[in-house]
Symmetry: C2
Subunit: 531 residues, 2 copies
Amino acid sequence: MSPDVTRRALLRSIGVAGGAGVMFESMRALGLVASPEALATPAYQPPATGDLTVAKRGKKVVILGAGIAGLVTAYELGKAGYDCTILEANDRVGGRNWTVRGGTTMTDLDANTQTAKFAHGQYLNAGPARLPQSHITLDYCRELGVPVETFINQNANALLYNEQSGVAAQQYRTAKADFYGYISELLAKAVDHGSLDQSLSGEDKDRLLTFLSGFGAIGDRADGFAYTGTSRRGYSVEPGAAEQAGVVLGPPPSLSTVLASQVGRYFSFEFGYDQAMTMLQPVGGMDAIPMALYRAIGRHKVRLGAAVTKVTDLAHGVEVVYKDARGKEVLVRADFCVAALPPHVMARIPTNLDAGVTAALRYPTATPSGKIGLEYRRRWWEQDDRIYGGITETDLDLAHIWYPSYGFHGERGVVVGYYNTGANATAYGSLSHVERTKRAVAQGVKIHGKKYSDELVSSFSVAWQRVRHIEGAWVSWPSRTSGEYALLNKPAGRVYFAGDWLSYFIAWQAGAIDSARYVVTNIHQRVMAER
Amino acid sequence: MSPDVTRRALLRSIGVAGGAGVMFESMRALGLVASPEALATPAYQPPATGDLTVAKRGKKVVILGAGIAGLVTAYELGKAGYDCTILEANDRVGGRNWTVRGGTTMTDLDANTQTAKFAHGQYLNAGPARLPQSHITLDYCRELGVPVETFINQNANALLYNEQSGVAAQQYRTAKADFYGYISELLAKAVDHGSLDQSLSGEDKDRLLTFLSGFGAIGDRADGFAYTGTSRRGYSVEPGAAEQAGVVLGPPPSLSTVLASQVGRYFSFEFGYDQAMTMLQPVGGMDAIPMALYRAIGRHKVRLGAAVTKVTDLAHGVEVVYKDARGKEVLVRADFCVAALPPHVMARIPTNLDAGVTAALRYPTATPSGKIGLEYRRRWWEQDDRIYGGITETDLDLAHIWYPSYGFHGERGVVVGYYNTGANATAYGSLSHVERTKRAVAQGVKIHGKKYSDELVSSFSVAWQRVRHIEGAWVSWPSRTSGEYALLNKPAGRVYFAGDWLSYFIAWQAGAIDSARYVVTNIHQRVMAER
């Protein structure tokens, strides 16, 4: 046994015996706290293949919904010898993990139909579009052979634009240089004047001034620690050959102007645990994940176009009735049911479950959110603006503009023209697709100019609150401690619930996966405990 | 004519007439300063294909060196109808742009031979390894059809380790959270106490406090603006399903401990104009660029193993003598010569040039630098440490550890085990390859533990100062204004010099390219002016 394994085993046993607090203290003692290797997430123990005796092998589980939670449930239970059937109301697997390509058609709740006209190789990840390197989603990509590539979540050449501040769009790099420069100047002055002597020793002060000097690229004491600009802002004339030394973009605006731009609010996004680079994406579209699960489970295990109309929990099993694509009612009997649907959708299906369960399903609030893919005939963001992937942040109703992290230097490209939530998403969602496109393009022109309109060739939009059988981008819990959350994390008889909404990683596939694993573990323990 | 073209044309004419200063002011007036579109780098105007009359078509240019500068010179001149011959002393094109794969062999100046044993698909970019999105290098990738992908230059999960500070290795994300948290706390306190009232209006203060609150994730006034940690640091137990809310890694060390770690010095790397994300790399290895130029130029135009022994500048042409691979002396006559060699290498070739030219060639100082590729049987940095690409920074003699930005989830991977310069590079360079590997691995074990040694399968190292016909990673100019730099940017009779060392982008391929374009422009203007 290698020392690494010993250390992991030791930590696991401490975690099991003493809980997270004890484990953390042990990790501190071992000097491991800051080491990523020591991340002590309780390891998922999949049901061992040999666990199920002959008598128990082939226990039947009917799963409602072929989103990530449903697919992972079937995948993990299937590996252990369970016989799973997934009922999916839509005509595709993946749920919100949905990649739109040329030919993709969707009819929404308002009976509006769109068909994407994107060129070959172009796509829009209408739902999840990025994978943090810490998330277990990547473990499934590795296990299932889904190739991944970098998703560019931060780009110094992407822009920041607050229309309300009246300041022109500027690159992240410029705004950062100015904010970091000025706060370094201010703090250095305060430190040097002794204003913070209560908080800082002499040695602290020296070290802090050294840090600020590099962090802000500011002058020294003799210069009053002044921030006067730096090549970090960019160049108005780039350096080059011979005597072309380059001209630094500058001088920087005044401190007041920089603060008034209020674009500093966007900096902390990239510090977030789930948003800091490195981020990744499956090559060719996010739906490579559900497609790989679909293949691994066996396509015959999934019934598409199967809209569940009734769920009955019985003493020794469950009965689920669904309408197939031709409108015929079909009855499925199983030992267990896993409802891996959005809670507000599940709440509408007739069941014999306790009224408290149905009330709990109605408790979380569905969030509206929308995205539009704008296909351009030319990758002007790369060619003209030197923006390779990344996100432009705005205070416009489109919120974010995403530049594609794939297909660099290709002929065409799909820009995400808005990705918004709440009132903005509701407003866009209430428009026709043509009107959504017009509005999004008119806003984007403010940042990128006329080419943003002129070079557009096609578009496709989704308003998740208007997507059939899904009706929301994700949910939020008004409270997790008022009972509903705990209730739904327990089985209602033989009916289990799964989904990102039953995790602390809401709106992430990792949440759906971990919830599925949690249910798989619980079902398996129950089966193993049965006589 | 579109408004964009008009605006660009206007700016170009202002730039030509009034210089950079006037142009910049005009751009300010137009509100264009911060817009990337307005980057007013003087555009390269390639010689027009129709420029050369029948009499001038086929003017001969002999180019010394098939590095990027030599290749681009031949490519651009060739497109315009010049007849170019490249003489390259090594047995491959690319110069310092060199990708090492399984089977790559090198014998250095000390007659030590290494042969790489990397598995198929694994490689080490021994020289340049990253392309900033602003650099013209990418324009050549687009023009030549060299596919590019993201190079991960910043990774929140990569580590910071200062052995001298005695603090354990920690993730970038953790160190950033702590530094940004504490400086926000300190500055907020100083602002709130009125210590900076001379520099800040009341409105400025409010805006600054709002910024610091988000930037540092600090408490509010009632909490004394205290930084007490945040999930930006990471988790000791990740959030997950059901009741697994996650345990934030913490509490943070004291302000003094954070400052004493001195890892904040590494943060500003990513603010650099040339190092900020997005960075890119050619798919499959950096040498895709010279190989594409080689093909575009025509392989028959390049003579490999051709070591130049004499350059003679004559009234109406040049004569270059080289020794071919079999030791035979060959004479080449041409109208012009472009010496695209490192200056210290060119300085040793007998010529009839002015002694001042040779002295100038000896003036810049060659920088030693080395890299080692460590091939592992398992991508433990991804699987165990959740590090997908990026760079770990240290105060060890290895300086940086790079994790590969390609081949995610594959079986093997090549980590750059050191990339250093100066005394560290000289020290490693003076060792045998086996000793370099031992030393680099022993240092890396301090950060990554025993697996860093146990899982190693092969390695390959380069010390650029010991590479034949190159003898340095790049050069630096003790002064650019003492005459030598200007002298070498002019032709010596019919001999021109080109290379990144004649640009303000030293050690970047963009410098070599722009220098080549500069020489191409000057030769072409001279040819066009000739009667």
